[in-house]
Amino acid sequence: MVSYRAVPAHDELHRDGESLVLHDGQVQRVSPLGTAIRALTLEALPLADLAAALAQEFGAPPGGDLVEVTREVADTLVDAGLLQRLGD
């Protein structure tokens, strides 16, 4: 089962659920959903657990499977260098 873990940042700034993350010389703006994912994955967290935690905070996604939508969002953060995917 795939898990995710937040990549440590040089610095973060949070405001109204959103955040700016300074990592690897770049400042990136992270949505409330992405910010929540990084906060939930300070320790490695399996995808299913992450999806359940997000559903508690944000409700069910309007379309699509909860786990698959979570995977898509998490992988976006992976591509941005802000999250690690473990156990592929």
Partner: protein, 292 residues
């Protein structure tokens, strides 16, 4: 008959030094070349607001060093051996105007390197109220109006910098009143390094402190008064960080910048055509009371 032998006297050649204090640190320009004194004299004139009293070292650490020499085609002289320094840059050029521009860039680089991690450094012009030190910082990329702003609104105020604003944790600003780099309308694109005094500018007589941050956006096609908008915190930080120096080597720089913006009322973004449109904004920020 007696013979006396007189040993030839050899006088070591000492490169003239132009001692500067910029961004709160010392930088020495060691001038070399075949005929260094005229260049040293020119540098002292252009950098007159940054000259350091060498009898009273301003910082405990040894100065950063920029070695500069006007290179002649047939005799590419360089300064001789130099004592250890924290940062050392060698700049030579056959064209004096271009050399002066490159020396300015090298001094800026050396000073930023020396203060890396110690200051919040923003690529900005800054003017201060001559009596209170309230400083307005105008953040902008190169060639978008910072120097023109200083030339236009600087007389009667304290000229802090047209290049880099260094903010300490307590909100005070370290001046960098360098020569003003003005682009000439010619083919070369080389900037003139003008002495601030020649443009009616004076350095700060009282300690500057940051009163407000403005992001400049010049749009020569627009008409009407300058448009001023308040940026929310994250937008402001996101817009300012590309115009910062040594951000990654600073502890918690996002938090620091956020604190600075919080204390100074947040960032404004002004879109303008002519720098004269900024008069009221400069006046308002330089008239603020200290939040520090």
């Amino acid at each position: 008959m007696s013979t006396s032998v007189v040993a030839p006297v050899v006088t070591p050649v000492v490169a003239p030094v132009v001692p500067l204090h910029v961004l709160g640190t010392d930088v020495d320009i060691r001038v070399g070349g075949a005929d260094p004194e005229p260049l040293a004299s020119t540098l002292r004139t252009r950098w007159h607001l940054c000259l350091r009293d060498t009898d009273a070292p301003a910082t405990e650490e040894p100065p950063a060093v920029v070695e500069a020499a006007l290179r002649h085609v047939d005799a590419p002289d360089l300064p001789g051996p130099t004592p250890p320094a924290r940062f050392s840059t060698v700049v030579t050029d056959a064209d004096e105007r271009r050399l002066l521009q490159r020396v300015t860039q090298a001094v800026t680089y050396a000073a930023i390197g020396a203060r890396s991690g110690e200051l919040l450094m923003l690529h900005a012009a800054a003017l201060a109220h001559p009596g209170t030190g309230a400083t307005a910082a105008f953040v902008a990329p190169g060639n978008t109006g910072k120097t023109t702003l200083c030339r236009t609104h600087g007389p009667g105020r304290a000229y802090v910098t047209d290049e880099t604003v260094g903010v300490r944790r307590d909100g005070t600003v370290t001046p960098y009143p360098k020569p003003l780099s003005t682009r000439r309308a010619d083919w070369l694109g080389v900037k003139d390094e003008q002495a601030p005094g020649d443009l009616g500018l004076r350095g700060p007589a009282v300690q500057p402190w940051l009163a407000g941050i403005v992001l400049l956006r010049r749009d020569g096609t627009r008409t009407g008064p300058a448009e001023v908008e308040e940026l929310d915190l994250l937008d402001a930080v996101l817009a300012i960080t590309p115009e910062s120096s040594a951000f990654m080597t600073t502890e918690a720089p996002l938090q620091w910048l956020s604190d600075v913006l919080g204390r100074t009322g947040g960032a404004l973004r002004v879109t303008y055509s002519e720098v004269s449109e900024l008069a009221d904004l400069v006046e308002e920020i330089c008239g603020r009371a200290s939040p520090w």
